[in-house]
Amino acid sequence: MTKIVTLYNNKGGVSKTTTLFNLAVFLAQTNQRVLIVDCDPQCNATELFFASVEDSDSPEVELPGTSIYSALLPRFKGQQAVIDPSSVELVENVLYPNLFLFKGDLEFARAETYFGTSWNQAITENIHEKNSYVVFERLLRSLGEKHSFDYILCDVGPSTGAISRTVILSCDEIVIPLVPDRFCYQAVKLLGSIIKEWIERHKVISDALTPFEIKPFKGEPQLAGTVVQNFKVHSGAKAKQSYVRWQDKITEQIQASLTGAGALTAKVGFVPSHPYTASIRDVAVLAPVAQMFGRAIFDIQQEHTKEASTDGSMYYGSVWTPWQERMDAYKKEIAKLAKAIK
């Protein structure tokens, strides 16, 4: 059965998309069939996915595949009760077999209104809104079944809006990317209770679906892990103290607010007192180089370092070795995330 996972934090700039893409590549390289669903109207995951394709960033080039918005539009417009997964054309990555994309769409921002309305109205006798309420989860499950995906990874924007809510409730598990700073600390304080409120409301809505012959979905994502990243380290690879302090404060909040009473249910194996499934240090120049070629950060080839050097020459020897070490270290942390969502 397909597992649907999202990396979510309502705070921006915590490397949600980058981590998700790298996790997806890692899983695909370990013989898992993976679908990335770009649910963020900013479409960064889509850009990253197609970055390995020549001319993909040219405005004249129409990217292949069905966009998430055009797939769901017949439901939003009331033209179809259920979206047929056969109507959705997915795109396979040119570099990484087993990795597919359900591409994003700038217009998907309009779904905020559709999902927002269904959130309010699905509890009434309005069948149209009930069908719109369940359409996203239904479509992902049917795509998972049709294409035998092991994982569907949903990329969402940093908001607590209707799209994020729909995606999160549709997931089996959530991983929370964090950065050790004040803003993330504030976000973590709120996140658990916000998601819990969604889950409670979903239960009430679900009770209003069954009598109308509409099967509700589970809507109870579990916290599978957190990943702390972008922290700076001393030359001895030890995190700088200022980051450690914020990390400790965030740890307290994870226990008290994120997984405490009235908050998220932790997956078996997740230990709130030691919540960091993976710790990723600042990857510096590796990220932009990887983005340039649409590759995983741990999969940058030596030839790609030309883009990082000032004179366009490739890195060798003692300059290239630290890159390899960083890539290896990064991959190990991504492997931990993969294990957490297994």
Binding site: A81, V82, T124, E125, N126, I127, H128, N131, P211, F212, E213, I214
Partner: protein, 223 residues
């Protein structure tokens, strides 16, 4: 107790106030007799499954399960014809939502929805069916098939119960014609009241299987 999901038909007797006033003025009880006869339709209703409450000009009928829904539609259809037989038009709507009632009170989202449809959508002597009910049964998972069964008509996006068939048509025509003749004086210069007769006459015409339909409502004449 949590209100359960229930089908609810809210039916309004059209012209109730006028007919009541006629009885009052004449000192007779013709309307009461008609009403009494029409309400006998409920004597045949399976009270173990369906509940009926009639207060003044409003009748509320409920059906608790999908499995009885087609039977429920048939009951409502028979009620419509029984009222028509006594020269009474009824107008109503069927909705599906939460409903609770006991001896003292009725708490019902279904009645509220049916009332909304009855008062704003039905307009004419017909029983409107909430579009949500139609859509709900389109998937087929409920075991109720409405499409292609001739049970429901759709016009201008409005779904309503098909009450006439070959066996009931002639009697319905006679009753409707008689009701028009009876009401002619009271509907004079009352376009809203006339429109109900006109609509039903058109419905009779549309469902007539014999050629040469004879209109019973006076046509517009040159001045």
């Amino acid at each position: 107790m949590t209100p359960a999901y229930t089908y609810c038909a809210l039916i309004d007797v059209l012209g109730y106030k006028n007919r009541l006033a006629e009885d009052k003025d004449s000192g007779e009880f013709l309307f009461r007799d008609d009403l009494e006869q029409a309400l006998r339709a409920f004597d045949e209703v399976n009270s173990a499954v369906f509940s009926v409450q009639a207060i003044s000009d409003t009748i509320v009928m409920t059906c608790p399960a999908h499995t009885n829904f087609l039977e429920f539609l048939d009951v409502v259809r028979k009620v419509f014809l029984r009222f028509l037989d006594r020269g009474l038009f009824i107008r109503g709507a069927i909705a599906y939502s939460r409903h609770f009632q006991n001896n003292r009170m009725t708490y019902s989202h279904a009645v509220a929805r049916a009332y909304e449809l009855e008062s704003s959508v039905a307009i004419y002597p017909r029983i409107v069916i909430d579009e949500n009910i139609v859509q709900m049964h389109e998937s087929g998972t409920s075991g109720v098939v409405l499409k292609g069964k001739g049970l429901i008509l759709c016009q201008n996006g409005c779904y309503f119960l098909s009450v006439l068939d070959e066996s009931s048509w002639s009697a319905a025509y006679c009753s409707a014609a008689k009701a028009y003749a009876r009401d002619k004086a009271t509907i004079f210069r009352n376009e809203a009241a006339l429109s109900k007769h006109v609509w039903f006459e058109q419905y009779l015409k549309d469902t007539s299987v014999e050629p040469g339909f004879i209109p019973y409502i006076e046509r517009a004449a040159p001045y």
